[in-house]
Point group: C2
Chain length 257, copies 2
């Protein structure tokens, strides 16, 4: 355990400073090195890659049993990672860990994910970064997920990641048998959104947004299929968004009226 006192880990999430998944990750990661926590004051799910530029950001020191646990930030997950690295920490962390999120982050869904966005911000800042999520909204037992996470974090810190690439990791729900670790691509299955029209207590109309994930990806080589089947999935994510293939065709279009 030569890592101890050597590796500096920045831990964040999108479920907020009080989330059980954050505390479970904190306890586990302390076995690998020093852990610095900045997390949102309140839950920030589905915030995408938002940052706060029109409002002040406040930072609150959070204690647990008399020891400093970390800092709560009244902003988004991306804000938390940015402010930690650029204003709060004394040196750049060796790795950024986001999670463990309560609920999976996979398929086309990841573009809405605050958990992934915290890791993306680490990557933008040039730090190897890993997003961790557990595929259950109900079960609170993060112990197996933490145990599975540690070697992934250790290996990532040792080997490093290509500049601009992060790892998105999903653990299967605790109640099903763990089948192993699978490196796989993200599915292109989408969240199927529905709006419900409702009326408030004053009779005024509003809409509620909800929906569910289309889980039926027939391709077993995707994150969504593998995690549902009991695998821990690891997907390398890269924000190189240019559609190179379509670019040549687009050059033949007419853009003058």
């Amino acid at each position: 355990m030569w890592y101890k006192f050597l590796m500096l880990i920045l831990l964040s999430n999108d479920d907020g400073i009080n989330a059980p998944g954050l505390k479970a990750a904190y306890s586990g990661l302390k076995n690998l090195g020093e852990v610095f926590v900045t997390a949102p004051e309140s839950e920030q799910s589905a915030v995408g890659h938002a940052i706060t530029i029109a409002d002040p950001l406040r930072v609150r020191e959070v204690f647990e049993n008399g020891d400093r646990f970390g800092y709560a930030v009244d902003g988004t997950p991306a804000d938390c990672v940015k402010i930690a690295v650029l204003a709060l920490m004394e040196r750049k962390p060796d790795i950024v860990v986001s999670g463990i999120n309560h609920g999976g982050n996979y398929a086309a869904n990841i573009i809405y994910s605050g958990t992934v966005s915290a890791a993306t911000e680490g990557t933008i800042l040039g730090i190897p970064s890993v997003a961790l999520s557990m595929n259950s909204f109900i079960d609170h037992d993060f112990s197996r997920a933490v145990r599975l996470a540690l070697p992934i974090i250790k290996e990532t810190a040792e080997k490093g990641l290509p500049d601009g690439t992060l790892l998105n990791v999903n653990f299967p729900e605790p109640s099903i048998e763990h089948k192993g670790v699978k490196v796989c691509r993200h599915s292109d299955r989408k969240f199927q959104v529905k709006f419900e029209k409702r009326h408030d207590m004053r009779g005024l109309q509003y809409y509620w947004q909800g929906g569910e994930m289309d889980l039926a990806d027939p391709d077993p080589q995707t994150d969504i299929r593998a995690v549902e089947e009991g695998y821990t999935t690891i997907t390398p994510i890269r924000y190189d968004l240019t559609d190179q293939k379509f670019m040549e065709k687009l050059k033949s279009w007419k853009f003058d009226s």
Copy 2:
């Protein structure tokens, strides 16, 4: 002008329902067909691909000179497009247009962009979508940008886009000579963020987030260089985030402790 009464355009933005760039786009697009507007009640810059799932969404009809201009939504740009297509419009629009944004959306910056996120949501819903931005925060004259936008929108509606691909368009600032239209990839230059520690009127500490774009991309084939030089840039964007190249290498890592 056979498009009139045929093409149904959904127009949104992230600068809000009162933004001059939205009104300029509305006036221009009316020459191409019917325009349905849903835009955020307030400015939503740097919201990334956020959606509102923990709060109600309210929709307000907005009139101008006695005619209905559109609907204001107290949510994000992605919310606006989603609620329009899934709850407010009588039929699916033929094209989604987002903008014209006041300020460029290019390089690594696009992952923070509410303007791009509205177009992304259109793409997720299976509709050809275009994000439009003008590379100036100061100049309010959108007339040239609108003139340049119309043939791009027309061509996109006629030809369609590959499933999952959107167009991100930047117009040069009005004061410099227009050199033509360039199809190019997005630069990987990043926003250089800084935090300033300040004190409020009660003496309490807060942070303000700011910074500037690193504009010096030496590669002339990128959006950032081309738009600064006076070109209208068109970048096809695709959210296929798996890093295929790194995936093979990752399979050789050890994930069991």
